[in-house]
């Protein structure tokens, strides 16, 4: 107990490194699983693991989602997650958009599609670190997420309620 799981969807390896380091610096014990595009994220959440390469499985407590990613972008991911939610198949972890775009239309569209929050990546390294720390502390410590149902860890996220 005591370890949180964060799922980070981010295709830029440099941003990945900065975000991972920022999370590490918060001192909150976390396991961070990284996926590099939307379809990997959907697989992570809903596909039964093919092998044991994804140790532990489990439902993440927080999803950090980039908008601009190859194959399947953040908006498409939000659409899929919303469909899953509307079908009543699952109550998902909070999704925080963490993106380079500070476009008001993008923000509105993300909220409309069900993102819990939208944080434009600040441009400076120190500010990015601070923003990531605030996100992680707020969503993992202050906020109450949906209860984690670990009854069937083989199929994280797909549970009938």
């Amino acid at each position: 107990m005591g370890q949180h799981t964060i799922l980070l969807a981010e295709d830029d390896p440099d941003h990945q490194a900065l975000i991972l380091r920022a999370i590490e610096e918060t001192g909150i014990p976390c396991r961070i699983d990284v996926v590099e595009n939307g379809s990997e994220l959907i697989d992570y959440l809903f596909a039964p693991p093919q092998s044991d390469d994804r140790e532990g499985g489990g439902t993440p407590e927080l999803i950090l989602l980039d908008l601009g990613m190859p194959e399947m972008d953040g908006f498409q991911v939000l659409q899929v997650l919303r469909r899953v939610r509307d079908d009543g198949r699952s109550v998902l972890a909070p999704v925080v958009i963490l993106t380079a775009s500070d476009n008001a239309d993008h923000a509105r569209e993300a909220y409309r599609l069900g993102a819990n929050s939208y944080v434009p990546k600040p441009t400076g390294f120190a500010e990015l670190t601070e923003a990531v720390a605030r996100i992680v502390k707020y969503w993992l410590v202050t906020n109450h997420g949906p209860p984690a149902d670990r009854s069937d860890p083989q199929y994280p996220g797909v549970q009938s309620i």
Partner: protein
Amino acid sequence: MLVLSRDCDTAIRIGPNIKIKVLSIRKQRVKLGVDAPSSVRVWREEIFPEVAGNDPSAQPTASSSPRQQHLSVLVVEDDPEHCELIRRTLSQCVSSTARVASTGKLAMEALGGPNGSGLVEKPPQLVLLDLCLPDMPGLEVLRWIRAHDSLQTMPVVVLSADHGDATVTSCIEAGANAFVGKSVGYREFSESVARIAQFWGGYCRLPKATLETPA
């Protein structure tokens, strides 16, 4: 001096595992970040060289860290002491305007509700919603909010003393953006409100308060 092309987006390696990376080029300013393992002490994290340009009006945006935005909040809460605590904490943490509604009906009215003359054109940027209201459950207010297109993107943070799994789940299913338990202690509750204010009023981008034009 460091010379960078306009669309330079590559990192410059300056040592093993240490890179200088262009984070953005905007408004005549280049923002650089140092990407280094935590064992490396970084003395100066940002460098802002002038980029040659002839736009005299371009001035650095004096955005403090984190960027502050004025936050308009609707506080739906019937307990006067909690109201006062929330209002005070909000104003201490961020530049904000808080409007209080002490019942579910007043909350709906504040948004242009059932007997009003139509939904307000500029809804608040954030709603703090207590679940236990004198006239109706807060959950009903939340469902009413989410049933309206123009209020769908307005973030709602539920504040509740009851933070059992079933309550949290039903609020999230009804479209709450976040759920924060009301602590019993005055100080803890005030800290929770402060964290809410700092997160939503800080780095977070809130949807602009605009009405969608009906198709």
